[in-house]
Symmetry: C2
Subunit: 261 residues, 2 copies
């Protein structure tokens, strides 16, 4: 299975421009043979646009997901994207994965909201992403700060997830996440972690790029730079070839311990 | 507080040569103002010497610890070292920290034995290292494979440990531990992790060096190469200066979640 990842510049609140760009990337990903395109957190309506989070948030059966389901089906390439979800009077920092046939494969609400802006815009989720299947693989989603917690990624790995999709919006200055924590989650979980970041300025934030798809040895299958958009397309067969000796056996070996005193 | 770390070549079963080398390193560490010297796993009687593990293992009040307590007191520099401990008919892969006054500050038995050789030589411990104090800091030990488990390092971090001492014996080919997992434990635990490896051949194993002292931003305060012995000495004040914005707040922010389905 080929996976595509789009490191995107922020859309600055221009919803139609974001739709147009996603459609362009979907077309390119499909042409390269990818079955799924991963894009950043809150690509709709924009991460650092708290003025739009409540006012533009859509329901799961609303305009945004409906249009993107149709576009995914048209291109024959699935899509995992972050967006602001309205459920009655509640608004969540959500991610949804649509299959190459346009079906909703899974929906998830960010558990670990980061910082005062997110906590002001959104309510947190309380349930890990359900495990879902694509091309015979077991997948799940986390969003941004979620993946920094070994507990959450570990729970997915122990449930047999082989590919964790992570839409994110990580500012410059926090590159330890891409360089250390994401590879660690992949290595200790014996899985692949795809972390799709924004890049460039949006209001008072500048996103740091360095999007990465880390294999089960913790090494990148591909990574993007810190400047400018990028489309990464990898064949996950390369991750399947990581030797057993370099794969974590933590899930089998872990021994609960008492203490510390 | 200054911390010293000795990346050592294996002693090849020559116990007196190991004692002599530890004493030399203690003297150098003390001369540089270090209050503690960290040395690798099973420095006594040797990691890849399963022929010696049972036959030479000593009790906590036996010859090895008694001599090293006296030497630490003489030099005025503490010592954390890995060794084979006999307790009646049980033998453990242990580590002990001796203070600069020669007192035993803490003793620990490795929980996560790695591979068939270790499991043949040793029984596993079942209790995390007690938290102990030195120079106003809170310390604890893990041994080698233990630190790869976020659960164990996380439990110590949540108990307020600011410095995790890790004697290790990590072969070449597994550099993801030094490069990814140890920095991840430091970053996600908002603590410093010192990982003292062996370097060079011992029987059918070659140890990979790359010993590292990783600060709470996941960045090395110092690191050694993959070839040859090294003595690293750092002032932990440099770790204290890592800005709050780069320090994990996971311990406060963590939200237990249901699932995955």
């Amino acid at each position: 299975m080929k996976l595509a990842l789009w490191q995107a510049t922020p859309g600055n609140g221009n919803i139609e421009a974001v739709f147009s760009a996603i459609c362009t990337q979907l077309r390119a990903a499909a042409a390269a043979g990818a079955r799924l395109l991963l894009v950043p957190e809150l690509i709709l309506p924009g991460y650092n646009r708290p003025d739009l989070h409540q006012s533009l948030a859509q329901p799961l059966d609303g305009d945004w997901v409906t249009r993107l389901r149709a576009e995914a089906a048209r291109q024959g390439c699935g899509l995992c994207f972050g967006w602001a979800e309205r459920d009655g009077d509640r608004v969540y920092n959500a991610a949804t994965t649509i299959g190459p046939d346009g079906a909703v494969l899974a929906h998830y609400r960010k558990i670990q909201l980061f910082g005062p802006m997110e906590r002001s815009s959104f309510l947190p989720g309380d349930t890990l992403c359900p495990v879902f299947s694509l091309e015979g693989r077991r997948l799940a989603m986390l969003i941004c700060y979620d993946v920094e917690f070994p507990q959450h990624a570990g729970a997915l790995a122990r449930a047999g997830v082989g590919l964790i999709l992570v839409p994110t919006a990580n500012p410059a200055g926090f590159e330890h996440v891409q360089r250390i924590l994401v590879p660690a989650r992949a290595s200790e979980g014996n899985c692949t972690v795809a972390y799709a970041n924004l890049v460039g300025p949006e209001g008072d934030l500048t996103f740091g790029g360095l999007s990465v798809i880390a294999g089960p040895d913790g090494q990148p299958l591909a990574s993007a730079g810190a400047r400018g958009e990028a489309l990464l397309i990898v064949d996950l067969a390369a991750a399947d070839l990581v030797p057993v000796a370099l794969r974590s056996e933590q899930a089998v070996d872990y021994r609960p311990a008492r203490g510390p005193a």
